[in-house]
Amino acid sequence: MKEIVTGFAEEVCSIPGGETIHKCIQCGVCSGSCPNADLMDYSPRKLIAMVRSGMREEVLSSNSMWYCLTCYLCTVRCPRGIKPTELMHALECLAVRHDLATRRTTTPIVYQSFVDILTRNGRVHEVDFIFRYYLNLYRLFLRMKPLAALKMVALAFMTPVALKLFGRGRLAFKAKRIKRRRELNAILNTARS
C-alpha cells in the first residue's frame, strides 16, 4: 500500500509541475487556449479549482488530462507562469498510481503500451508498440470493456497506412534495442525501490 494521502492538493504539489496550482487566479486563459477543452469533463481552469478544493476522485477519474495534446499553448500564455501542461502530466501520473485512469478513452492504454516497450527494449518502434497496444486492448476486452473491442476494430483500419509506410521503408519490423538494457533496468529498478 502507498502512504495514506491526507491532502489531495499536497499530493499534486509533490510532483514536479504540480506545485504551481496555488498561483492560479482562475482567469481561464488556459481553457480558452486549449484545442481540446471542449472534449474534457472539466476545462484546465476548472480542474485547477477542483484540485485546490480537494475533489480527488472527480479529478483523477476524469478524462480531462488524457485529452491534453502537450502543445504547451496554455503554458506560454499563462499570466501567472503556471505550467498547466506539466500539471496535466502530474494528474495523469496520480490517476495511474491510484488506478483511477479513465477507460472512456484508450489514451492511458496507449501510453502504458509505449512505456512497456520502452522499459523492455530501451527504444520504441511503431510495430512492436502497436502490437503491445493491441495486446493490452485485448486484455481489457477480456475484462468486459466494450470500448476495447471498438478500438481493436478501429486499429485494423490503420493497417493500410502501416502497410504503405512499410512499403516505403519507413517502418522497422525488427525491434530495435539498446545494447546496455541491463544498465537501464538497474536504473529503473532503483527508481522504483
Binding site: L69, K83, Q112, H125, K176, R180, L188
Partner: protein, 288 residues
C-alpha cells in the same frame, strides 16, 4: 567544423528519411553530428504521463551519456528536444528529484552533473550556422517555390527561447535564404495532434484537416516541417483526411534538410524523397 552529440530519437531511428537527409546536408555546413552511443528513448509524452520519476531517470541517462562527449546534445525531433530540456531543468529546479535520479543513475554506473545544452537541429542551423552561411551554399535556389513553414508545437513551446512561441519566424527566414517563398500560414505553430493519433484518430484528423486547409489557403505548394510526429500525421494521414472530409489535398510534406539538400544540389536519391507518401515530384521537378 562544429561537432555535436546527435540524439536521433526513435522516430529518426526507424524512419531514416529525416536522419539521412540531415546527415547529407550537415557536412556542407561544417557540422559534424556524432551519434550518442547506446542512447535510449527519451520517454516522450507517454512516460511523463505514467510515472514522473522513472521518466526523468530514462531521459537523464541520455543526458549522462551526452555529457561524456563534452558536446551539446542536438536532436532533430521536437518532442525529444522538449523532453530532454525539461528533464535537465527539472533536475536543476527540484533537489529532491535530483537526489533520487542521481541514485538511480549510479546504479547503472552513470552520473549527470547538469549543464548539457539540449538543442534542436533548426536552432543550430539558425543560431550557430546562420542564414547567410546557409544562403552561400545554395547551388540551385528554390526560386518561386511556395512553402508553408510548419513549426508545430514543441520546437517553439514551452518557451525555450530561440523563437516566438506563437508566431515563429526562423524557419520562414531559412526558407527565404534557400530562395523559396514562405507563404502566410496562421496555424504554423498549432498542434497536429501528435501522439493522440493512435487513441483518438478522429479528433486528430480534424486538427490535420484544419492545418492543411490553412496552408493551402495561403497559397502553399508544399509544407516543410522539423518534427517527425508532425510529418507522419500530415503526410501519412492526408489520404484518410481527404476521404473523411471529402477534400482533395495533395500537399507534399517535406523535412527541412530535404529541401535544404535540394537547394544545395545534393542528389535527390540520397534525400529519400521517394519515401514520402505524397509525392513531391510535380512540385519540385524543376529543382531535382
Amino acid at each position: 567544423m562544429r561537432s555535436y552529440a546527435l540524439f536521433p530519437g526513435c522516430s529518426g531511428d526507424a524512419d531514416t528519411m529525416y536522419y539521412r537527409s540531415a546527415q547529407a546536408v550537415c557536412p556542407l555546413l561544417d557540422i559534424e553530428l556524432i551519434e550518442i552511443e547506446d542512447w535510449n528513448c527519451c520517454g516522450a509524452t507517454p512516460y511523463i504521463s505514467i510515472n514522473n520519476l522513472e521518466a526523468t531517470c530514462v531521459a537523464a541517462r541520455n543526458l549522462a551519456l551526452a555529457q561524456k562527449t563534452g558536446l551539446d546534445l542536438v536532436t532533430s525531433c521536437s518532442c525529444c528536444y522538449v523532453i530532454q530540456n525539461q528533464t535537465d531543468s527539472h533536475l536543476r529546479e527540484y533537489p529532491e528529484l535530483r537526489e533520487k535520479v542521481s541514485e538511480a543513475l549510479a546504479a547503472g554506473g552513470l552520473q549527470y552533473q547538469g549543464g548539457v545544452r539540449v538543442r534542436h537541429l533548426l536552432e543550430i542551423l539558425v543560431n550557430d550556422v546562420g542564414y547567410e552561411a546557409i544562403s552561400s551554399k545554395v547551388k540551385k535556389g528554390l526560386e518561386g517555390l511556395k512553402v508553408a513553414c510548419y513549426y508545430g508545437c514543441l520546437v517553439v513551446r514551452p518557451k525555450l527561447g530561440f523563437d516566438d512561441p506563437e508566431f515563429p519566424q526562423s524557419l520562414d527566414r531559412l526558407m527565404e535564404s534557400l530562395g523559396a517563398e514562405p507563404t502566410p500560414f496562421h496555424l504554423k505553430s498549432r498542434c497536429c495532434g501528435g501522439a493522440l493519433i493512435l487513441p483518438e484518430e478522429g479528433l486528430v484528423q480534424g486538427l490535420i484537416h484544419k492545418l492543411l486547409e490553412n496552408a493551402l489557403a495561403g497559397g502553399a505548394e508544399c509544407i516543410v516541417t522539423v518534427c517527425p510526429l508532425c510529418h507522419t500525421n500530415l503526410d501519412a494521414y492526408q489520404a484518410k483526411v481527404n476521404r473523411r472530409f471529402k477534400t482533395n489535398y495533395h500537399l507534399p510534406v517535406l523535412y527541412l534538410p530535404q529541401l535544404m539538400g535540394l537547394a544545395f544540389g545534393i542528389d535527390s536519391g540520397s534525400l529519400d524523397l521517394e519515401k514520402l507518401m505524397i509525392s513531391p515530384k510535380k512540385v519540385l521537378e524543376s529543382f531535382y
